[in-house]
Amino acid sequence: MRRNLSLLNFLPSTILQVKDLKTNYYTRQGVVKAVRGISFHVHSGEVLGLAGESACGKTTAALSIMRLLPPSARIAAGQILFNDKDMATMSERELRAVRWRDISIIFQGSMNALNPVKNIGEQIAEAIRLHEEVAQAEALDRTRNLLQMVGINLSKLRSYPHELSGGMRQRVMIAMSLACNPRLVIADEPVTALDVMVQAQILRLINNLQKELNLSMILITHDLSVMADVCNRLAIMYAGEIVEYGSVEAIFEEPIHPYTQLLIKAFPSIEGAASELYSIPGSPPSLINPPSGCGFYPRCPYAHDECSNVNPPLLEVGSGHFVTCRTAGGQG
């Protein structure tokens, strides 16, 4: 017993735990069940990847955690435990204490996320002063440090977003996300719109900062090759659910869910010989009337009859490796 307890000390502590989260959008066409009961946790100091194609619910999951959902969306069920408090039920006032100071977010389009009529120095200082009671001079001092940390020359302190390149703006977004020393940073497609070289620069910056500051991160992207580079663990989402979840090595080397297998195959690699390109026929189901069984059933090459009415929960198949699919297990 005692040995077990001391072992626990070496296990990474959990910083965020999401339990059975369900988020709906209420539209004129009906209720879109964008996130359909997902559970995961983030260890402190690790990078967890949320991967999936458009409309799989990954951004909605991020916005739910930050409680930044648009008015048409609501968290229908589930818990978001951060520091033993449930963010899903927090009041707006309580949230203000958590947002940015404990959890911050790097948004997808840096051009739209930054204020076009304020220079970047002011914007970062404003973010600091909104969340902490500090004088303008101190906020500006911290802003200078932040800009240096993300590799922006201080001569750009008074620049406006339109004067900066896409890569620079993304650096500003990263500086802003770190303004209040958060413990968890959610990065939603941080490099998607950038050129390959700039993408590599920004990824290296994120990687270095994450290690230096021992940040916990959730990285959201559709690009599995970026995930392989940066993440410790990976959750694969499809049609609002996590279908497979585990270490990056397990997911890439022994993918079990047919969707994960096909998705990895669909990514062209610049390494190795030229090979055939793979696609997944069909398209994801409507989330207004999601199928009662497995969401991937209509596109799955291994589907059985029962897949159309049974939707199994995640089951642990290896150490820390979870998968929903029960039928395709060995057919990798």
Partner: protein, 331 residues
């Protein structure tokens, strides 16, 4: 005029756009988007222009169909001098060169049915007289791109289709005129990965079926690796390297190509590549560096690189590189 046997022959193409500097500025400055590019595309080939944004790859595509007027240079298509054609002759030529654009959410008119979208190029070029002939041609085009049964798509509108289906419609509209060359500008970068390969495989199948030639434009080297026959890498309006896909990807010679390939992420956590990260960003095409325009970021630059602009040299059969010092580091 040369009888080269090439479908497309571009020589020393320059496209400069005048840049507005100041209200009273006398010095005229130019954005040198394309600054001396030559290449040839053989019939049936998939030729790929690769580069980061602003390198001039889309400007080249637009020049080929004369959506943009070049500053100098020549473009021969099937031994016809494209740049000297009159308007009516150009319209005829455009039947032979069709474009597929990046964003199928914007390139299809939302007010038109799928039938009208695919039939429009036939109408514009007055290629069909009878309605039943039009029906047949549209149905053939839709079936060729895998939208079957074609009739069930006739009355649909673009918003009723998925992104992949929309791109298929765009390809069908391009195919309706039975072109010889298709210029595809990032045709899959807006699509989800699971449908991308479907579109690319379709393009490959159509090549063999209709003997098509493609000029393929992309920033995605990993994708080009698996699809195209030859690659030309562009930097700031010029080609720095050109050759067979295998040769360029596996043994890149130019320092820019080497760096670009090294930073492409690999979907395999076991592969830990040595990344050659370039510092800074691409200089403005208004103030292009002297000499070799890559020298400001080049890891192997020498003093002379700031003075002399290197030309493409054939260093292996069919493999050209615009760097006199390139072979020194690839031993």
């Amino acid at each position: 005029m040369t009888q080269s046997g090439m479908l497309l022959d571009v020589q020393d193409l320059k496209v400069w756009f005048p840049a507005r500097t100041g209200f009273l500025s006398r010095n005229k400055t130019y954005v040198r988007a394309v600054d001396g590019v030559s290449f040839q595309v053989a019939p049936g080939e998939i030729f790929c222009l690769v580069g980061e944004s602003g390198c001039g790859k889309t400007t080249i595509a637009n020049t080929l169909v004369r959506l943009v007027k070049p500053t100098s240079g020549t473009v021969f298509f099937n031994n016809i001098d494209v740049l000297s054609l009159r308007k009516e002759e150009m319209r005829k030529l455009r039947q032979n060169i069709q474009m597929i654009f990046q964003d199928p959410y914007e390139s299809l008119n939302p007010h038109m049915t799928i039938f009208d979208i695919v039939a429009e190029p036939l109408d514009v070029n007055r290629l069909v007289d009878r309605p039943d002939e039009k029906d047949t041609r549209v149905a053939q085009a839709l079936e060729a791109v895998g939208l079957t049964p074609a009739q069930s798509f006739f009355d649909s509108y673009p918003h009723q289709l998925s992104g992949g289906q929309r791109q298929r419609v765009a390809i069908a509209a391009a195919l309706a005129l039975k072109p010889a060359l298709i210029v595809a500008d990032e045709p899959v970068s807006m699509l989800d990965i699971s449908v991308r390969a479907g579109i690319l495989k379709l393009m490959l199948a159509l090549r063999s079926e209709f003997k098509l030639t493609y000029l393929f434009i992309t920033h995605d080297l990993a994708l080009a690796r698996h699809l195209v026959d030859r690659i030309a890498v562009m930097y700031l309006g010029r080609m720095v390297e050109m050759g067979d896909t295998k040769s360029v990807i596996e043994t890149p010679l130019h320092p820019y190509t080497r760096s670009l390939i090294s930073v492409v992420p690999v979907p395999n956590p076991k592969v830990k590549k040595q990344k050659i990260l370039l510092a800074g960003e691409i200089p403005s095409p208004i103030q292009i560096p002297s000499g070799c325009r890559f020298h400001t970021r080049c890891p192997i630059a020498r003093d002379i690189c700031a003075k002399e602009q290197p030309e493409l040299q054939e260093v292996r059969p069919g493999h050209y590189v615009a760097c006199p010092y390139a072979d020194l580091q690839n031993a």
